[in-house]
Symmetry: C2
Subunit: 218 residues, 2 copies
DNA sequence: ACACATCTTGACCATTTGGTCAGGTTATCC
DNA sequence: GGATAACCTGACCAAATGGTCAAGATGTGT
């Protein structure tokens, strides 16, 4: 096939890796790192096992690549905030974008959950580095908002975890939710309702006036 | 050893099963059903593999027994409610007991999460039967409270999921939480703070007056 | 048409998997 | 001190595991 200058990537390779990655994400999401077998991933992708290994090198490398892909999506969602911003807008945007990540990438969300469940051996650096810094920087701003009387004085870190957990849940526990609510799947309309619900409860729960139109209240 | 009338259980058996169950709960919680190996469980329990299998019969039976043990704990937590009850008290008790389950049985909580993550193949009946009925019966009462103006008209089912998710999170995502908050473990004091935080946000978020002392408000 | 890198895959390997079993040890009741 | 049921475990098994490799198929730039 085409003789390419080193770092470039064939079309064939792109297509195969796409199939493998998507298949692997499903399998790893369901069964975790150890519970997933290369054979199962190959079957899911409709390729021979040796072909899968030709592209990804090893099960471990494939898993790490998938985690990195998911962390990249996560990072893409996180934008900066400042004290000058409106708490209502920021928190609502935060909830909505996190929920959107769950809705558009349920498998990736579950993959992430499975990794945390096994003690996050592959994510220690990320959690203790980037993500910790991210949380702490938001926490500072939340604290300032509370000091200014723009929201109730709640612990910012638990608040962030509340938003993460309540949205993440709709990917990780989808099977439970579908079983209980007698649904085949969660529709886009369901996601709209749930997101509105969460925005409402959490903003009101923090004592944040919703979209105060004007400016400061304190 | 003692010749026992059939259904009774030896002390030796009790002790061995205890060790095996606890070890298995840890391993299954970390790695899921497929990812856990009998050998790993045996090592964790400090017993030869054949001895583990002597007691539990098979990996599958062990897993199912553990799920049942966890569901029993869950059921023990769920008590009945009626329209006459005080919404604030009921919701707060609900949050507190769910959080207590998470705190006292983190491994079991994670085991449950892993089972749901893999699509809940062993819990379909439970989810679509008992648990669905439980949710629906609470939903009816919540709805009546809302109609009486005792709380905001929020969807009861999403509210229940919010409580489940925000509490469950502290078991399932413990590794993430510890990494981000620079903790070695969550202390009892942490749990108290988090529980208070969640009660506060969720009750206020639903427009429920906290412990109104007197009686109805509507 | 030739060269050459990419791709494809069945055969194969050592190790681990869940599970069985036979032959033994232990403990307690009578 | 037997009798007997419970307990224990190393040896073993077929199947599945992650991974390697060699030999060939494919495609494209020149």
């Amino acid at each position: 096939m085409t003789a390419l200058i080193s770092p470039e990537v064939t079309l064939t390779r792109q297509r195969s890796e796409q199939r493998i990655f998507d298949a692997a994400e499903r399998i790893f999401a369901s069964h975790g790192y150890r519970g997933a077998s290369v054979q199962a991933i190959a079957d899911e992708a409709g390729l021979p096992k040796s072909n899968v290994l030709y592209y990804v090198g090893s099960k471990r490398r494939l898993y790490v690549a998938l985690l990195e892909r998911m962390m990249a999506r996560w990072n893409a969602m996180l934008d900066d905030i400042s004290v000058e911003d409106d708490p209502a807008e920021v928190l609502e945007a935060f909830i909505r974008s996190k929920m959107e990540l769950t809705r558009t990438h349920p498998q990736g969300s579950r993959l992430f959950a499975a990794e945390i469940l096994q003690g996050a051996p592959f994510l220690q650096d990320y959690l203790r580095g980037e993500l910790r810094a991210w949380v702490q920087s938001r926490a500072v701003v939340f604290k300032q908002w509370a000091d200014q009387g723009l929201m109730d004085p709640v612990d910012p870190v638990w608040l962030i975890f509340l938003i993460w957990s309540s949205t993440q849940h709709y990917a990780d526990f989808e099977a439970q939710i579908l079983g209980i609510t007698e649904r085949e799947a969660l529709s886009d309309a369901d996601y709209v309702h749930i997101t509105d619900f969460l925005c409402r409860i959490i903003l009101q729960g923090c004592g944040i006036a919703r979209r105060p139109e004007g400016a400061l209240i304190g």
